[in-house]
């Protein structure tokens, strides 16, 4: 996924410039705003794929900004950056109309992965999910919970199925370990050890074993990606 239009609203000048540069280097278009009012004006008029909003902003704070946008029927997905990384802050952020929440300090790879997922969700056929996914010769049926690769059925545990489902739904996108813990296990803390890796490697053993081309790829320093390398 490339060429997203991203609006970054952040009052820390250095962080703002760094994020803008980093997003542009990742192949996206990034606009910058240094306070809440500027950010609000840009977000309302410009067609952005994703908003990255700091929670504490001068003139108009991040949550109010998003709430105002939603009242104006601007439904651009928004990711909230916050120094207050606590559970209830996350809940408040999402209640205000935010779509994702990332506590500071974060790594850029984590932010990028989340922004790309949000952008994809916001565009395209977005909110209605297909009943089945296909990546290369792998097929996953969400209704019958059946997974086949090259016509051969693969038996997965329920959790393994959800893991694969999340990876496949975001095929071609980097999915971080934190994102997997959030969506597959519904916890938002940082998995300190390699718990997620072990789950992925088990899944990988079932999905990729005996096939020439692996579908589950490890992206170093970031997470995982399901991708068919044949193309």
């Amino acid at each position: 996924m490339s060429d997203m239009r991203i609006l970054i609203i952040e009052d820390d000048r250095e962080a703002l410039d760094y994020l803008g540069k980093a997003f542009r280097e990742s192949g996206h278009v990034a606009d910058q705003a240094a306070d809440g009012l500027d950010g609000y004006a840009l977000a309302r008029d410009g067609a952005y794929d994703v908003l990255v909003v700091d929670r504490m902003l001068p003139k108009l704070d991040g949550l109010s900004l998003i709430r105002s946008l939603r009242e104006q029927k601007v439904e651009t997905p928004a990711l909230i950056l916050s120094a207050l990384g606590q559970v209830d802050d996350r809940v408040k952020g999402l209640r205000a109309g935010g779509d994702d929440y990332l506590p500071k300090p974060y790594s850029f790879s984590e932010l990028l992965a989340r922004v790309e997922v949000l952008a994809r969700r916001g565009t395209g056929s977005a909110r209605s999910e297909p009943t089945s996914y296909r990546v290369g010769e792998l097929e996953l049926d969400r209704l019958s919970h059946r997974v086949t690769r090259g016509g051969q059925e693969i038996i997965l545990q329920p959790r393994e199925f959800r893991l694969l489902e999340y990876l496949v739904r975001h095929a071609g996108q980097v999915v971080t370990r934190t994102m997997l813990l959030e969506h597959v296990w519904d916890y938002h803390f940082d998995p300190q050890t390699n718990v997620i890796d072990v789950h992925v490697s088990r899944l990988r053993a079932k999905i990729d074993k005996g096939f020439d081309r692996p579908l589950i790829h490890t992206i170093r320093g970031a997470g995982y990606m399901v991708r068919d390398t044949a193309r």
Partner: protein
């Protein structure tokens, strides 16, 4: 002498001295009122008695006069007047001349009217009226006057005695009170000075000082005990702070050094873009590790500050325990020990599912880390995960067969960043247990470390939700 000079004003300013002084004045006023009342009452009783006696006597004498005439009266009065005592008698003729009696002189006009009054009089033949008496005058037929009275010297004497008693007692109260105030104030001042001295030494940096406890169990002792307990706590915090900073320095130094070395090595050795890329990815990985450490530290700090009050709701501990155990199952199997999970269904408590999940995850993570040590020596024992209801409490227990923690170190390891020396070289941030402890505290629960013989058993205990218990 400067000491004396500064000591006295201090004595007068002391609360104890002021209090003593106020008490002294109050008591003096009370004593005055009490004695005054006694004196007034005594006088009144005496007066009444005197009046009664006079009434009775005068009635008797009048009777005598009526039945036996003036001669008989004069004879009786004459006889009675000769007896020593405080009784006064006088009979006069129509001209006011004395016929019988022991009263020498009276204010003019006293005999003109019947009735009772208080007068100065002179005794027998004495002209000077230097005594005082209560008298009653009775007019007899034929111009005769009969006077019966009582000297009130006695009453005056009682008044004088009470007055003197009051003076003496006031003096005594004053002197003793002042002495008492001085002693009490000196004693209290000394102890307060002690405390002030100790706190001054502590403020100057010597944390080892403690306030002396007199052992009397009074309010100053209680204050001293609390002060000492507070000092102990401050001492603990100081030690903890030093330990934490040392540990933070150590734990952050290691990954920072590794980070620097990797970058350095990449600069020196890597020649192809691929090699550089790998090196940079390694650098990012190290930085992510650092970010994790900071996140965990921040979180513990916030939990310990007790801000996590919103976002509390009833949730199912059973689901958390099962879910987290399931999350860690593959890791435990990979470590060669596995998990032995037994969870009672429907354990509801009030709090944050998210935090509880993280706490349980930390405990299982630790158990696998330390439990797998034993596994490598061929003695593989699964990590025990239990969630139970015990009375009004819900407990979550995670037990391993690792090296355990010696009893004397158990309190210490709950501190932030503390890892026992033996474990320092192992991966992990040493924050897991302290985070779990902080989480259990904000849920109104406890975290207990005990011996699993061998190994460590960590038990989280929470009050079950009131709604769920009903």
């Amino acid at each position: 002498m400067t000491l004396q000079g500064s000591y006295l004003p201090k004595l007068f300013r002391a609360t104890a001295f002021k209090l003593s002084f106020y008490y002294l004045v109050t008591f003096a006023i009370f004593a005055f009122l009490a004695l005054g009342y006694v004196a007034w009452n005594a006088t009144k009783v005496l007066n009444d008695q005197i009046v009664d006696t006079i009434e009775a006597e005068i009635a008797g004498l009048a009777d005598q006069y009526r039945t036996a005439g003036i001669r008989r009266l004069v004879a009786i009065v004459d006889r009675r007047a000769r007896q020593p005592g405080a009784s006064l008698y006088l009979v006069t003729n129509f001209a006011g001349e004395r016929i019988a009696g022991n009263v020498g002189s009276l204010p003019p006009g006293t005999l003109n009217e019947a009735g009772q009054r208080e007068v100065d009089y002179g005794r027998a033949e004495d002209e000077a009226r230097d005594h005082r008496a209560i008298v009653r005058v009775f007019l007899l037929p034929g111009g005769f006057r009969l006077l019966v009275g009582r000297d009130v010297e006695e009453r005056a004497r009682i008044r004088e005695i009470i007055g003197r008693a009051f003076g003496v007692s006031l003096l005594l109260v004053g002197v003793l009170g002042c002495l008492g105030a001085w002693f009490v104030t000196k004693r209290v001042l000394k102890r307060v000075d002690d405390m002030t001295g100790t706190t001054e030494r502590i403020m100057a940096g010597d944390l080892s000082g403690r306030v002396q406890i007199a052992g009397t169990g009074d309010e100053l002792d209680r204050l001293a005990q609390n002060l000492n307990a507070m000092l102990d706590r401050i001492g603990e915090l100081m030690v903890g702070l030093t330990e934490v900073s040392n540990n933070i320095a150590h734990d952050l130094k290691t990954p920072l050094t590794r980070l620097r070395n990797r970058a350095d090595e990449a600069l020196r050795v890597a020649s192809s873009p691929d090699q550089l890329r790998t090196a940079l990815e390694g650098v990012i990985e190290e930085s992510d590790g650092l970010i994790r450490i900071f996140n965990a530290l921040l979180m513990i700090a916030r939990l310990e500050a007790g801000h996590q009050n919103t976002g509390m709701a009833d949730f199912d501990v059973s689901e958390v325990a099962r879910g987290i155990a399931e999350l860690y199952e593959p890791l435990a199997e990979e470590a060669g020990i596995g998990l032995d999970v037994a969870v009672e269904p429907g354990l509801i408590i009030t709090g944050s599912r998210e935090l509880m999940g993280q706490a349980v995850a930390n405990l299982i993570d630790n158990a696998i880390k330390y439990g797998s040590k034993a596994a490598s020596s061929g003695d593989a024992q699964p990590v025990l995960v239990r969630a139970l209801r015990e009375g009004d409490a819900v407990t979550v227990t995670v037990a391993d067969r690792g090296p355990g923690i010696p009893a004397e170190d158990r309190d210490r390891v709950l501190g932030r960043f503390v890892r026992l020396e033996a474990a320092r070289s192992r991966p992990g941030f040493g924050l897991g247990l302290s985070l779990a402890a902080a989480v259990s505290r904000i849920h109104g629960g406890t975290l207990t470390l005990s011996d699993n013989g061998p190994g460590l058993r960590v038990t989280l205990s929470f009050p079950a939700s009131a709604a769920a218990a009903a």
